[in-house]
Structure formats: structure tokens, C-alpha cells
């Protein structure tokens, strides 16, 4: 391989500018850390941490950076299609950008944002001191970071994947995608997926085994329920992706024929396996969003959640149904009527439990004392906008009608109408809602609301025209079109909306900056007068979460304890057993990253050496004797005094 193939020097000024900005950014981070002497702090407090709150914060930070990267991709795409015969991007560049936009937004933005919120909140919400396996949690995060890093460098080293985020064969095969782009796709998703699988197991065990005494199944907060079900889906869905990606790597790099069109291979099997994982994945990103909205709506309507049990039942039903609908992603690819009918019906069935949830939220709002805070505004906007997404989903679910909509902009509009008000609004709402828990002060409400209006209005301006464009026949992934098609004006409108969305996200980031500098610090751990257990401790949360483990005897126990001036626990302080930090997960993920990078270019000897390093780290871990450390009673008393006494 020659050097000019290794580094992407296409002479494209945009790529060049991006490359320069990456290099300048990296240098300024290194210089900044050295100048302010923060290397030791970074290593001690963040890179080696096993604290679920800090790991959650790091997940969310990476997710925000990835939101920016994916957002720039989106703006470039909308910019390219804003006018007929536009020359902003060429076809190849456009292919790469819609591929990375999809992969990054789903796997490196939505997933980590949700996993980040889950990390920060779940142990607090169930009254635990950490997750079940804190060290494994750190491994999960760093594997995810290694995968995300590997995927992102493809852009400057070797070339990005260009076969769509779903990477269908035969297009993604070596024959039609000869660059290393799709090797990056397979290996980076493989590494990040391993991390996600570990997260899944970790959180299932945490929620099953570590709830506060008295918190039985039906006394768990709704977000905890949604996260439990999500993680069960992760545990059962991700192995399919692991296998599919391994087969993809074998096909592309070892000459096997699993997805080949000849020699007994079956190209459609990739699409099948991808969606066997891919459809549950949709619910992995949407169910926690439902949980977040449930928490926020009941908090700001000042009412308990309407139909708690039906919420739980409908989520369990969704988790089962999510595994029996995958073929609706490829109705038009040659199945018979029987298959399409079966998957049509199962898909429409999923609208029933989802509808139950919509009505539960509406009835929670009914006669509530609603306060219109930023997180509540996002939750209220979610209900009608998501319903549009859901209804168009039912339209797409009808196999015969789908022959009209398949792979048109109508589909693009549909999944943005479910993923943005669903997942993105939820994580932003959750971000505003739980920000004071982590940092001890709220984000500015005025800027938050300004951002909300920008995002919500621009979202509709950007994506509603795509429904009409799709019905007019514009297909997805078209890099340009002629003026005679008449697609120009609506695409321009969509571009204007996309710019507005970009401004909305800039306001969001500016709000973080503004609030860090000027926002008043809340003395109280419970600024929103909320209901669940995470608000029962101080903000920012001390490392041990709860000085005393709370005792639970009802749903929303913290709310009723506040009402009746009751303590959640009055046990004496006891020494607290905590896990100690470790640099091993970080270093091991470094080895994963290096092994993955070498494997992308088929440099097998270094890849094997780095893989051996991974096993060495695992062996070291199994001989390591580390029983954690204890926080003494005196130290707890001192911390609690400093933070303003033990809360109720």
C-alpha cells in the first residue's frame, strides 16, 4: 500500500480543512493539558475511574462530540441536495457522508448518550453505590471509545465506509467496495459492540441484584424499568451483530463466501442478520427514551405516572415484539406474500403497546399542575411529533403500500420523525433534567427554552418536506437530481431547517458554557422537586452516592418521604466498601484499538501481537488481588457535613 492511499489526499479542500482542524485540535488539547499540568488529574480522576457517574459523564461527552460530527455530515448532505445539480460534494464523498452520518448518529451518538444517562442515573435511582461490576463498566466505556475512535479516523486514514449504515451485501463486498472503509465499519462496530454487550450484562445484574431494600419490581421507577428491558434486549440482540460482523470481516478479508452471490453464498443473509439485530436496536434506543419521558412528565405534572402497570406490560410486550418484525426492513427484496403478511401484522401489532404508552402520558398530564420547564417542553413536544412518526410507521408497515415508499425520502422522514423526537429529544430533556444532579447547578432555562424552540421548529421544517418529496418519488441516498424533477424548493426548505437545527444545537452547547460560568449553584439536591431516589442525595453526588442506604416501601418513596417529613433511613453510618480505580481498561482498549487498526489494513503480524496484549491484560486481571477500599465513618461524617447534612 502506498502512502497516498493510506492518507486520504484527494485534494478536496473540505477534507483538507477537516484534517487540519483535527490536527490543530489534537495539538491544542495536548498543549493545554501540559500547560495547565492536568495530565495527572486526567489520569487519576477520569481515565482510570470506575465511578459510574464519571463514566456516564464521559459517555455523554463523547456522544455530544459525535452529535457534532454527525450533525456536520447532515448539514453537508442537506447542503448538497439543497439545489439541483449542486457540486458541493461528489458522489463518492456523498456516499461516505451518509454512511458515517447513519452509523455515528445511531451507534456513537444515540447509544452512548443513553448509556451515559443510564450510567449516571440507574445506580442512584435504585439506591445502589455503584453498578454490579464497576471495572467491567470502565472496560465497556473504553471499548466503546476505541470503536468510536477507530470509526472516526477512517475519514482521514484509508477512507470512510461508503455502503450505507446498513452496509448491504453485495455492495459492501470486496468486489464493489474495494477500499478499507468497510473493514473499518466491521471492526469498529465489533469493538464498540463488545463494550455494549458488557454494559447490557452489567446493568441487568445491577437492576436485578442491587436495588435498595424494599424496592420490589412494582416499586421501581419507570426509567429503571425501561433500562432493564433495554439491557435484556441488548444481551439478546447484540450477539447477532457480533456474528454478522465477524462473517463480514471473514468475507472481506479472508475470502469466505458467506454473503457472496455465487459459490453457495447468500447476499441477502447479511440484510437479514443485520435487521435481526437492527430492529431490536431501534427499541434499544427508544425504550430508555420512553422511560426518561415518563420520569419527566410525572415530575412536572406533579402527579404519579398514570397506568404504571400497563406501562411495564407494554414495554415487555415491545421487547418481545421487537424480535419478530425485522423483515419489514426489506419487504421489496423478493419474499413471498406469506412472509410479508406475517411481518406486516407483527409490525402493526407493535403500535398497540406504543399507543398504550402515549395514552398513559396524556392521562398523566390530565388535570396535572404542569410546570413548563425545558425538559418538560421537550417531553410535551415529543408526544405529537412522535405520533406522526408512529403513524407513518404504520403506513410503511403495510407491505403492499411499502412498495411505493421503500427507500424513498418518505422513509427517511419517518425514521427521523421517530428517532429525533423519541431518542434525541429524550436525551436532551434528560440532559437538562439530570444536569444539576451531576454538576450541582441547573442549565439556564431561558437559553434552554430558546434552544428548544429552535430545535423543535427547525426539526419540522427540515424533515416534514421529506415526506412530500418521498411521495413525489425522490429516493434516499441520491446525491443530486435535475431541476426538471421539481425537488429543488422542498429540498431548499429542508436545508433551511437543517441549518436551524444546527443553530439549536449550538445554543444548547452555549448554554452549557454559560451555565458553567454564571448559573447559580443549587444548595439543594432536589432542584425540580422530583419524585425518585436519585434526588434523595446531594448534588453533586458524593462518591459513595448514599451515606445510608435508603429503605423503600412504596413507589416514589422519596416523594412521599418529602411530603410526610420522613427519613428514608436512619441507620447509623457504616464504613462503605468501594471499588478502586484501575488503568487497565484504558490500556486494554488501547490494545483493542491498535489491533483493530492493524486488522483493518490486514497487517496481521502487528494485529496478532496487539491481540496477544489484550489477552495478557485479561490474564493479569484474573491474577490481580484487589479488594477495593473502605470509606471510614469519620470520612462520611465529614463529607456529609461539608455537603450540608444528610438529606431526608
Amino acid at each position: 500500500m502506498k502512502w497516498d492511499e493510506f492518507f486520504v489526499f484527494t485534494g478536496d479542500p473540505m477534507l483538507f480543512a477537516a484534517m487540519i482542524s483535527i490536527i490543530v485540535g489534537a495539538i491544542s488539547i495536548v498543549v493545554g493539558l501540559t500547560y495547565f499540568k492536568k495530565w495527572a488529574y486526567l489520569w487519576r480522576e477520569w481515565l482510570t475511574t470506575v465511578d459510574h457517574k464519571k463514566i456516564g459523564v464521559m459517555y455523554i461527552l463523547v456522544a455530544l462530540i459525535m452529535l457534532f460530527r454527525g450533525g456536520v455530515d447532515a448539514l453537508l448532505m442537506r447542503g448538497q441536495t439543497a439545489m439541483p445539480e449542486n457540486g458541493l460534494l461528489n458522489a463518492q464523498h456523498y456516499n461516505e457522508i451518509f454512511t458515517t452520518h447513519g452509523v455515528i448518529m445511531i451507534l456513537f451518538m444515540a447509544m452512548p448518550f443513553i448509556i451515559g444517562l443510564m450510567n449516571v442515573i440507574i445506580p442512584l435511582q435504585i439506591g445502589a453505590r455503584d453498578v454490579a461490576f464497576p471495572r467491567l463498566n470502565s472496560v465497556s466505556f473504553w471499548l466503546f471509545a476505541a470503536g468510536a475512535g477507530l470509526f472516526n479516523i477512517s475519514f482521514i486514514i484509508g477512507g470512510s465506509p461508503d455502503a450505507g449504515w446498513s452496509a448491504y451485501f453485495p455492495l459492501a463486498s470486496l468486489e464493489f467496495s474495494p477500499t478499507v472503509g468497510n473493514n473499518y465499519y466491521a471492526l469498529s462496530l465489533q469493538i464498540a459492540g463488545l463494550g455494549t454487550l458488557m454494559t447490557g450484562i452489567n446493568f441487568v445484574v445491577t437492576i436485578l441484584k442491587m436495588r435498595a431494600p424494599g424496592m420490589t419490581w412494582m416499586k421501581m421507577p419507570m426509567f429503571t424499568w425501561s433500562v432493564l428491558i433495554t439491557n435484556v434486549i441488548i444481551v439478546f440482540a447484540f450477539p447477532v451483530l457480533t456474528v454478522a460482523l465477524a462473517l463480514m470481516t471473514m468475507d472481506r478479508q479472508f475470502g469466505t463466501k458467506f454473503f457472496a452471490m455465487q459459490d453457495g453464498g447468500m447476499d441477502m443473509l447479511w440484510a437479514n442478520l443485520f435487521w435481526v439485530w437492527g430492529h431490536p436496536e431501534v427499541y434499544i434506543v427508544i425504550l430508555p427514551a420512553f422511560g426518561i419521558f415518563s420520569e419527566i412528565i410525572s415530575t412536572f405534572a406533579r402527579k404519579n405516572l398514570y397506568g404504571y402497570k400497563s406501562m411495564v406490560v407494554s414495554m415487555v410486550a415491545i421487547s418481545l415484539l421487537s424480535f419478530v418484525v425485522w423483515a419489514h426492513h426489506f419487504y421489496t427484496m423478493g419474499h413471498g406474500v406469506m412472509v410479508n403478511s406475517i411481518f406486516s401484522i407483527s409490525t402493526m401489532a407493535i403500535a398497540v403497546p406504543t399507543g398504550v404508552k402515549i395514552f398513559n402520558w396524556l392521562l398523566t398530564l390530565h388535570k396535572g399542575k404542569i410546570s413548563f420547564t425545558t425538559p418538560m417542553l421537550y417531553s410535551l413536544a415529543f408526544i405529537p411529533i412522535f405520533t406522526i412518526g408512529g403513524v407513518t410507521g404504520v403506513m410503511l408497515a403495510m407491505a403492499s403500500a411499502d412498495y411505493q415508499y421503500h427507500n424513498t425520502m418518505f422513509l427517511v422522514a419517518h425514521f427521523h420523525y421517530v428517532l429525533i423526537p423519541g431518542t434525541v429529544f429524550a436525551v436532551i430533556a434528560g440532559f437538562h433534567f439530570w444536569f444539576p444532579k451531576v454538576f450541582g447547578f441547573r442549565l439556564n432555562e431561558k437559553l434552554g427554552k430558546l434552544g428548544f424552540w429552535f430545535i423543535t421548529i427547525s426539526f419540522n421544517v427540515a424533515f416534514f418536506p421529506l415526506f412530500i418529496l418521498g411521495l413525489n418519488g425522490m429516493t434516499r441516498r441520491m446525491y443530486t437530481y435535475s431541476e426538471s424533477t421539481g425537488y429543488g424548493p422542498l429540498n431548499m426548505l429542508s436545508f433551511i431547517g437543517a441549518v436551524g437545527l444546527g443553530i439549536g444545537f449550538i445554543i444548547l452547547v452555549y448554554n452549557i458554557y454559560w451555565s458553567i460560568r454564571y448559573s447559580p449553584r443549587d444548595e439543594d439536591g432536589d432542584p425540580w422537586d422530583a419524585r425518585s431516589l436519585e434526588w434523595a442525595t446531594h448534588s453533586p453526588v458524593p462518591v459513595y452516592n448514599f451515606a445510608r442506604v435508603p429503605k423503600i416501601n412504596e413507589l416514589d418513596a422519596f416523594w412521599f418521604a418529602k411530603k410526610n417529613n420522613r427519613m428514608l433511613s436512619d441507620d447509623p453510618y457504616e464504613p462503605i466498601h468501594m471499588p478502586s480505580n484501575s488503568g487497565m481498561p484504558f490500556l486494554m482498549s488501547g490494545a483493542f484499538f491498535a489491533a483493530g487498526f492493524c486488522a483493518v489494513f490486514s497487517w496481521w503480524i502487528p494485529a496478532i501481537i496487539f491481540t496477544i496484549a489484550i489477552f495478557v491484560f485479561m490474564a493479569l486481571r484474573s491474577f490481580e488481588q484487589d479488594h477495593g477500599y473502605y470509606i471510614s465513618v469519620e470520612e462520611i461524617e465529614r463529607t456529609e457535613r461539608e455537603l450540608g447534612g444528610d438529606k431526608k
Binding site: L208, F236, V324, A327, H335, G336, M338
Partner: protein, 95 residues
């Protein structure tokens, strides 16, 4: 002392899984009928799965039978749906 410390179960499990893999591989190396080959593969696959579950994942050692059965039923549901569903979409129902 050494006898108690030695992870007998794990080593045995490891040996079993190696042997089972070699037996499964024999389907490729020896010339045999399709039915014979499939029979060997199915038997070794089931044996392999039980070795993993019993010797490495310690299924059955937990007190909490309800969680265990719920888990197994869910796993079976997902597994059966994936396999039969794939056969349905890719072979039986393909035009």
C-alpha cells in the same frame, strides 16, 4: 490443598469443548453423507452449548429459579424466532 485449588471443572470443560470442536470439524475432513454430517453437527452443537452453560456459566447453581427460567424461556424465544424466522424469510418464503 493443591487438589482443592485446581479448577478441575473448568479444565474438564475446556477439554470437552476442544474435543467437541474437533469432532464437529470432522464433518469437513471426512467424506460423509449430508444427513450424517448434519446429525454430528446438531449433536455436538447441543453438547457444546450444555458444556458452556453448565461448566463455565454455572447455570443451576443459583438459588433463584424463577429468574433462571424466565431467562431461559426468553432466550429460547429469541433463538427459535431468529433461526426459524431466518429460514422463513430466506428459504421457505423466498420467491
Amino acid at each position: 490443598m493443591m487438589k482443592q485449588l485446581f479448577p478441575k471443572q473448568h479444565v474438564m470443560g475446556f477439554m470437552f469443548s476442544l474435543v467437541l470442536s474437533v469432532v464437529a470439524l470432522s464433518v469437513l475432513t471426512f467424506d460423509m453423507s449430508y444427513k450424517m454430517g448434519m446429525a454430528i453437527l446438531i449433536v455436538t452443537a447441543i453438547a457444546q452449548a450444555s458444556v458452556q452453560l453448565l461448566l463455565f456459566m454455572h447455570i443451576g447453581e443459583s438459588e433463584d429459579k424463577k429468574t433462571l427460567y424466565t431467562n431461559i424461556i426468553y432466550a429460547l424465544f429469541v433463538g427459535v424466532v431468529t433461526i426459524l424466522g431466518t429460514l422463513l424469510t430466506m428459504i421457505w418464503g423466498y420467491q
